[in-house]
Amino acid sequence: MIRILSGNEAAARGAWEAGAAVASAYPGTPSTEILEEFARLPGVYAEWATNEKVAVDVAIGAAYAGRRAFASMKHVGLNVAADAFMYASMTGIEAGLVIITADDPGMHSSQNEQDNRTFAKFARVPCLEPADSQEAKDLMIAAFDLSEQFDTPVLYRMTTRICHSSSPVKLGNRIERPLKQERFPRHPAKYVMVPAHARVRHPLIEERVRKLAEFAETFPWNRIELRETHLGIITAGVAYQYAREVFPHASVLKLGMTWPLPEPLIRRFAASVERLIVLEELDPFIEEAVRLMGIAAEGKSIFPRIGELDPRSVREAAIAAGLLPASARVPAPQVDVGPLPVRPPVLCPGCPHRSTFYVLNKLKVPVMGDIGCYSLGLTPPLSAMHTIGCMGAGISVAHGAAKAGNRERQVAVIGDSTFFHTGLPALLNVVYNQSPVITIIMDNRVTGMTGHQDNPGTGRTAQGKAAPVVEIEPIVRALGVQHVKTIAAYDVAEIERTLKEFMRLDQPAVLITREPCALLPEARERWHALEVASDKCNGCGLCFRLGCPAILKSDELDERYRRPKALIDGTLCTGCGVCAEVCPREAIGEATEQ
């Protein structure tokens, strides 16, 4: 049976067909759908872990115990998980272990565009890269086999364009793989990485790399496609598709395994073509390895190192380098379409984060942000976000700024899921080392930005089973924070009053603003639009400072001040009431029945 699958769905399907039984992941674009899809398939265990390091440890535990397992994450998630990833390389496994990294060239939804192939070389483990959905499935099955054959975790590297592109996939059956052994392996020399054992393991790991490079020679997904020989292209992943599109007549060495590389195969290919180029996204990872072999190859001198490639950028670069004639250019229209309004991502109508940012903007305090929807507190008119780095960073950055002697009151904002992810140890550090950081935990009862995944606070697992609802306030108290308050997130006045009170303290304090994401089904049921009584509105514009997409500037002007009155778009308004709270003239209220 053939079905159109995204790369993410195909990777999950491949793991399932390969008999993987355990998967753990933390949501992150563009990787999220891998675990979501796997969780829907029969006969498997799938979970949202609290962070990527936890996810990799869980997958390692399952693989030690003898079941095929994977952990999936976005590229920067592997930074969090690096410690676990590195020791797994040292110990090896009992059953197949695949670590999936979804890189984001072009930074569609990330803070950087690091090329995680480097992690494979760093950890001395093989790196596989699919070039379409069919390969995403097939290479996943190959990855599990490779893992067991060489006693190694496998880094399976996808990119946004592979994850979120769809193409037909031939579905196969699952091969069930029961636990390899009843007893957990008692094998300390292999699984207890104390220095004495690690020193014995390292030479074995280097020997494994040598054997993997040999194996790469005959790995079926490393293949030479010989066509005309004036140009040869070494390529992998989605760049292979662009190579085929832009240079249909060129010979291609298509690598499914990008580390370690098959040196004799590359030499044979290089010898068979007149000019050798490497076409790869981001870093010159293959190119540098090829040049270290002493083979003349061009790559980043022709193609961009920054951002995502596409057929047009590849073609333009090739024309500029003389690889293609200027006549290869497909002229695009150059019509002047005039100025167009931008559509910046903004907090949704009814977003429970809006009220807090409105207050923070008013208080003019430095705000250290974190990764999640609330990063949109950056955008005008809220403009209340001054640093964002990575998951869990905000609290410690605020602590550091306070310890540096900055006399302003440092505020950190963090979401519920991000608090569980890496906020916990950061807040504990604030308590232990005593800085007067005010931490605002914006608890919208779900992992929002990535599309409503469950977390320890939601009371439900990735596979829809009931779970304990973990409350945040008792955790914060147990960490030793003396000043803790939970407030309904739409209560603007109470948020402002509490923050001002906390600012007078000289101790750590935590404000938990709590309200379900307005897009959750149970929240949608409560939606009811508000409206502006235009006879009361005098166009003061305070409600415009909320940056709510449902609040419009009316064509009607206030007679006295000649400024636009407010108007509420009833199709967008959720009735959260924050605008009604900030309105000094009580001009906003429930819509009157027509």
Binding site: I4, S165, D336, P341, P344, P549, I551, D569
Partner: protein
């Protein structure tokens, strides 16, 4: 059958652009094409621009279409129609929804929103095979604005037939099957009506 057809779908989060591109990809597959589909929708839930590439062909490599190589354009919103106009091949087929979804930068930020004359004039410079459909109004008339994507797919199917791009290998029923299996059963009939209303707009029942 044409060798390849490159479709570009452009709209705003929440308009059903992704569902429409899934339908297109599967219609192409059913007609015997190789297909690829690429979505760009990082922030779609938050009212951002949504772009989807769908390619049909004997052999398809890149999931992305290069600028200037779009053969058929399905624009769900007027400003978005203008935004991606320069991706089209001159003379491309275009179905353009006469629907305005004004971002907050316009409604309270004071940025201008393009008027219809600017849209018509710009499109006319690229292609004379554009069809304008008020799919939002048609969908609302049928009872639910959310079926505007089915209206637009109906118009596209009819336009492709009129231009001889598809024939008996892809009947309207194939589109309808692909649409209705992706929506809740209670909306199947409404989607069929919407698809047919879209075909009617291009003069084909």
């Amino acid at each position: 059958m044409r060798e390849t057809i490159n479709f570009l779908l452009a709209g705003v989060g929440g308009q059903g652009t992704i569902l429409a591109s899934n339908v297109l990809a599967n219609v192409g597959l059913a007609a015997g094409y190789q297909v690829k589909q690429a979505e760009v929708h990082g922030m779609s839930q938050r009212g951002g621009s949504v772009i989807s590439h769908v390619r049909w062909g004997r052999a398809i490599h890149s999931p992305l279409i290069a600028a200037g190589e779009v053969d058929a354009y399905l624009a769900f919103e007027k400003a978005e129609a203008l935004r991606h106009l320069n991706q089209l091949r001159p003379g491309a087929l275009a179905v353009i929804n006469l629907r305005a979804i004004k971002p907050v930068t316009v409604t309270s930020g004071g940025e201008p929103y393009p008027d219809d004359d600017r849209l018509f004039a710009a499109v006319a410079q690229v292609t004379d095979r554009a069809v304008y459909v008020d799919a939002g109004a048609i969908a609302l008339g049928l009872g639910n604005v959310r079926v505007e994507n089915a209206v637009l797919l109906g118009a596209l199917s009819a336009l492709m037939e009129r231009e001889g791009w598809i024939g008996s290998e892809i009947l309207p029923d194939e589109w309808i099957v692909q649409i209705t299996q992706r929506v809740p059963a209670k909306y199947a009939a409404l989607n069929r009506q919407a698809f047919e209303a879209g075909r009617w707009e291009v003069g084909r029942a």
